[in-house]
């Protein structure tokens, strides 16, 4: 009997390998697939399309004997968590073997590249522009405009750089693409290369993702002949969060300290080794094959306002149903964490939700009607970022979270600009004073002033956006910043 179990890092971290070994020891054929992205059910076992989860090795015998009802979830593809989604980028998640060229071709793989080759560079870029695809790393810059700039830039040598340094806590969509559907990422890069005139691409993967590194390296070798003359090379980061910033990443690729560069010049004009370079996030490039294969309008039909297409949202933290939820822009934050996420894992009330990673704002339940849309989140002093949502229950101490925002900034600062390098340290020190109950009102005013300096004076978003988690914590959860002594407040 064929048993399908994921080898995605989440499944493995939850014991999937031992479950697979048990089925194999009992003589069954085990096929390792990408994950469906329903993490609370991993290790998920799929037998003829019917799922069981979460499975431990001790459950295997019971499942085989027909005594597995306790863990049965029915037909996996029909699970409400899946049917509620619009999976354009994650269409293959859970269904295919990540490194099988056969599975990839059988699921419309390479159709995008084929069409791009027929259309040529100009028409290919027109499709991407028409789709409304915006950078999914966090900046949300229109991909078509970026590609046009690189295509028109003078220079014989150009590069495609894939930013796979997914360092934001609460995010794992890039990792899932790299581990689950690496050919799709490479196809997207090859299309980009064709569009702008680059025949070399680098994928900069953070070192904290060893499984993704191995999968992408293997995939690159396996499909090299299909994407030629475009060539892909994997490079590994070295533990620096700031290297997720595009210019810091370029410096790191060049073998330098990951310092941020001033812009202009834009990487599109002077990027890697001084050459015109497309730097795009994994999800941006992964969306491209669909856009080329199905056409710009097919993608643009989804979404709202200027946020077209789908966003692979990642439900994380203290959430009951964590995982990958790809859907059109427009769904509200409340629906995501309460209805789809099912509330907290602990069962306690949700108190705060951080959206967009460590540099994102903390949202209280009062703002749960905010729709997932770049502009709507900006309007409430928040940001979508890379689409990660981290849920906290009522035990969260928002003063400690604000302190952590500064601490993280200090630890990861590249050191180049003063507002970030020094501001982060002073911010952490001032939060320590606030937590100790010292001079509450004046220290809060000081933090707000410091945040204004960091927001407008920092060279990049690390220092520039640290004010988001800090000020949202102070604004929406002021009770956590009141003096903690028995004395009355000012």
């Amino acid at each position: 009997m064929q048993v399908r179990i994921s080898d995605d890092a989440v499944a493995v971290a939850c014991g999937a390998d031992a479950v697979a070994a048990r089925f194999a020891a009992l003589g069954h054929e085990v096929v390792r697939t990408s994950t469906w992205g329903m993490h609370w059910l991993e290790p998920l076992v799929d037998i003829d399309g019917r799922g069981y989860g979460p499975v431990s090795p001790a459950d295997v015998d019971a499942i085989l004997d027909g005594r597995g009802e306790r863990l049965a979830i029915g037909i996996v593809a029909k699970h409400p968590f899946i049917t509620a989604q619009t999976r354009l980028t994650f269409a293959r998640a859970g269904k295919t073997r990540p490194l099988s060229l056969e599975d990839y071709a059988a699921t419309n793989g390479w159709a995008g590249l084929e069409r791009a080759r027929e259309l040529g560079p100009v028409a290919t870029i027109a499709e991407v522009t028409g789709s409304g695809l915006r950078g999914r790393g966090g900046a949300g810059f229109p991909a078509g405009i970026k590609w046009t700039t690189v295509a028109q830039a003078p220079g014989r040598r150009k590069y495609i750089v894939c930013n796979a340094d997914e360092g934001d806590s609460g995010t794992f969509a890039d990792r899932m693409v790299m581990e689950g559907d690496p050919f799709m990422l490479i196809e997207g890069m090859a299309i980009a290369g064709l569009a702008v005139g680059a025949d070399k691409g680098f994928i900069y993967i953070r070192s904290e993702y060893p499984h993704a590194i191995a999968k992408v390296e293997a995939a690159a070798r396996l499909c090299a002949h299909l994407v030629a003359p475009f060539e892909v090379e994997v490079r590994v980061g070295a533990g620096a969060y700031i290297c997720g910033e595009e210019t810091s990443l370029l410096n790191s690729l060049e073998g330098k300290r990951g310092e941020v560069r001033a812009k202009p010049p834009l990487p599109a004009h002077e990027g890697l080794f001084g050459c015109p370079t497309v730097v795009n996030n994994v999800l941006t490039l992964a969306a491209v094959p669909f856009v080329l294969a199905e056409g710009a309008q097919a993608y643009a039909n989804y979404g709202m306002g200027r946020s077209r297409g789908t966003m692979p949202i990642q439900l994380a933290g203290n959430v009951k149903h964590g995982g990958l939820f790809e859907t059109a822009f427009g769904i509200t934050l409340g629906e995501l964490v309460e209805k789809i996420g099912g509330g907290t894992h602990s069962g306690r009330p949700i108190r705060a939700v951080q959206v967009g990673g460590p540099l994102g704002a903390y949202f209280p339940s009062a703002l749960f009607d905010t729709p997932f849309d770049y502009e709507a989140f900006a309007a409430v002093d928040g940001l979508i970022g890379h689409g990660g949502i981290t849920v906290f229950d009522d035990r969260v101490d928002m003063a400690k979270q604000a302190r952590f925002a500064f601490e993280f900034c200090a630890a990861e600062s590249c050191g180049k600009c003063t507002p970030c390098r020094i501001g982060s340290v002073r911010g952490r020190e001032t939060l320590d004073k606030l937590i100790a109950g010292e001079n509450t009102l004046s220290n809060i005013a000081l933090v707000a002033d410091l945040c204004e300096t960091m927001k407008f004076g920092s060279l990049c978003a690390l220092g520039g956006f640290t004010p988001y988690p800090v000020m949202s914590a102070i604004t929406h959860f002021p009770e956590d910043f009141a003096p903690r002594t028995a004395e009355a407040a000012e």
Binding site: A9, E42, G167, S169, R235, L253, R257, G258, N318, G322
Partner: protein, 138 residues
């Protein structure tokens, strides 16, 4: 330093070769020594200060050896939301001086934390019992 020479030869002609070289050196020797920095700098026609500056920038590279087994515990926001801070105290206590405890910010397993990585192996849904067993086995 014949292993180092092999590493340098293997990366000959690679654009922006320094980080791939340093990764291989870190993996082969457990650290990047002053001698290695000197040899690499000479080979790549960089100053020792430049190479030293790159080594010191990135968390992954060590200047001195540490043979102890290591556990990397994630202490970023999503794992914090699932109890990593209380677990961290426990991990430090269990590790003592025998095991090196490193903080990592995010392993991309953000809905199943607390999480840790030992070597290249990932471990999720950690609690005191599970993490004690992991440290015991190191």
């Amino acid at each position: 330093m014949s292993d180092l020479d092999d590493i340098l030869t293997a990366h000959e002609g690679r654009e922006g070769a320094l980080l791939p070289i340093l990764h291989d050196v870190q993996a082969a020797f457990g650290h990047v020594s002053d001698g290695a920095i000197r040899t690499i700098a000479l080979h790549l026609n960089l100053s020792r200060a430049e190479v030293s500056g790159v080594v010191s920038f990135y968390h992954d590279f060590r200047r001195t050896p540490d043979q102890r087994p290591a556990i990397k515990l994630c202490r970023a926001e999503s794992c914090q939301a699932r109890g990593s801070e209380a677990l961290a105290i426990e991990v430090e206590r269990l590790a003592g001086s025998r095991v090196r405890v490193e903080t990592v910010y995010c392993l991309g397993l953000c809905s199943v934390g607390p999480n840790a990585m030992i070597g290249g192996e990932v471990h999720g849904r950690l609690d005191r019992e599970r993490v004690a067993a992991l440290i015991e086995a190191l």
